[in-house]
Symmetry: C2
Subunit: 215 residues, 2 copies
C-alpha cells in the first residue's frame, strides 16, 4: 500500500524534521541567552548569535521571525528555569526551621545568579519599551510572590525596625547579582573570579549575614 507506506515514511520524516527543528531552535535559544545575557539586546547581533549556535544568520529569522522573538524565547527559558528550581526548593524546605530555610533559600538564589548571570541582565538591560513591559508583566511580577515567601522569613526577626518590604526585593536582587554583574571589576580588584565556587560561597555567607539578623 503506497499511501500507507508514504504516510509512515512521512511520519518518520516529520518526527526527524521536528527533532532537528527543535535542536536548532534550542541551539539558537542557548546562544541568544548567552549573547543577550552578556551584552544586552541591542549590542547582540543576530550574526554573533547564529555564529555561536553554529548555524547561518538567516536561520534566526527563519525559526523566530525576528530577533525580538528569539529574545522572548530566551527570556522564557531563563525565567522558567529559575521558577522551576526555586519552586522545588521552596517545597522541599517547607518543613525546615525558618532560619535554616531562609539560609538555604538565600544560598540557592545566590548560586542561581552566579550560574546564570543572564537572569539579572534580562531584568536590567533595558529601561523602557515593549520588551521591558512584556518582561515585567510576564516574568518579573511573578518573581515577587516567590520572593515574598523568602522575605517573610527575612524581616520577621527585625520587628519594628525591619527594612521596607517592597525595597527588600530590590536590595536583595541587586546585592545578590552585583558581583556577577561587575565580574570584570571584581576580578581586576580582587584578583579572583566571583564565579569561583569559593567566592560564591563567601557571597552567599555575606548575603546571609547582611539580610538575616544575627541569630
Amino acid at each position: 500500500m503506497r499511501s500507507a507506506a508514504a504516510s509512515t515514511a512521512a511520519d518518520i520524516n516529520n518526527v526527524r524534521v521536528q527533532e532537528r527543528t527543535l535542536r536548532t531552535r534550542q541551539k539558537l535559544i542557548a546562544a541568544g541567552l548567552h549573547e543577550f545575557g552578556l551584552n544586552g539586546f541591542e549590542a547582540s547581533s543576530t550574526r554573533s548569535i547564529a555564529s555561536r549556535a553554529g548555524v547561518a544568520q538567516s536561520a534566526l529569522p527563519y525559526h523566530f521571525t525576528t530577533k525580538d522573538e528569539l529574545w522572548r524565547a530566551a527570556a522564557e527559558k531563563i525565567f522558567g528555569e529559575f521558577l522551576t528550581r526555586f519552586g522545588t526548593i521552596l517545597e522541599m524546605s517547607s518543613d525546615d526551621e525558618p532560619r535554616a530555610r531562609a539560609e538555604s533559600l538565600i544560598t540557592e538564589a545566590v548560586c542561581f545568579f552566579a550560574q546564570h548571570p543572564e537572569l539579572h541582565r534580562f531584568m536590567t538591560d533595558e529601561t523602557s519599551g515593549p520588551r521591558v513591559e512584556w518582561l515585567v508583566e510576564t516574568h518579573i511580577r511573578p518573581l515577587h510572590s516567590v520572593f515574598d515567601s523568602l522575605i517573610a522569613d527575612l524581616d520577621a526577626p527585625f520587628d519594628g525596625a525591619a527594612p521596607d518590604r517592597q525595597h527588600l526585593f530590590y536590595m536583595f536582587v541587586g546585592a545578590a547579582a552585583a558581583p556577577y554583574e561587575m565580574a570584570y571589576e571584581y576580578n581586576a580588584v580582587n584578583g579572583a573570579s566571583p564565579f569561583d565556587a569559593e567566592a560564591v560561597n563567601r557571597h552567599a555567607q555575606s548575603m546571609i549575614r547582611t539580610f538575616l539578623p544575627p541569630a
Copy 2:
C-alpha cells in the same frame, strides 16, 4: 595699529569661540550621559545624542573624534561629580559619631544613585573590552577606597559575623542602585516611582537597616 586691533579682535573672538566650543561640548556630554546612562553604549546612537543636545550629528565626531571619546568624557563627568560630592561629605562628617556618620554616608550614596542612575549603568553596562578596562582602572578602582571609609563603620559592630569586606562593596552598590536600575518594574509593581523623594527616603532607611546592625 592694525595688528594690535586685529590681535585684540582675534583674542576676543577666540574667547567667544572657546566659550561656544565649551558650551557645545558640555551639551554633548550631558546628552551623552543621559543616553548612555539610559541605554548603554551600543544602544545609544550618535544621532539620538546629537538630537538631544540640539546639534548636528556631525558635531559629535568634530568635538570628540569618536563616540568612544564622548563616552569617556561622560564617564569623567559622572564619576568626577560623585567623588567630589562624596569627598566633601566625608570631610564634613569626619567628627561625627560613627553610627550617625555611617547613616548619613549611606543616605548620601542612595540619594546620588537616585539622582544619577547613570553612574551605576556605567559600572555595569559592558562586561569586557577596552572601555570597561579603562573605566575600572581609571574610575571604579578609586571608588573602593572611598567606600572603605564607609565600610569600616559598616562592619565594625558585627564583630565575628561580619559580611565579607570585599563583598560588602558589591552588595552595597547593587542594593543601593537596584530600585533605579529596575525603575520601570518598580513603578509597575508598586504604583509609584522609585525616584520620588518619599521612595528615596524609604530606600535610604531600608539600606541603613539592612547594612547597619540594630543599634
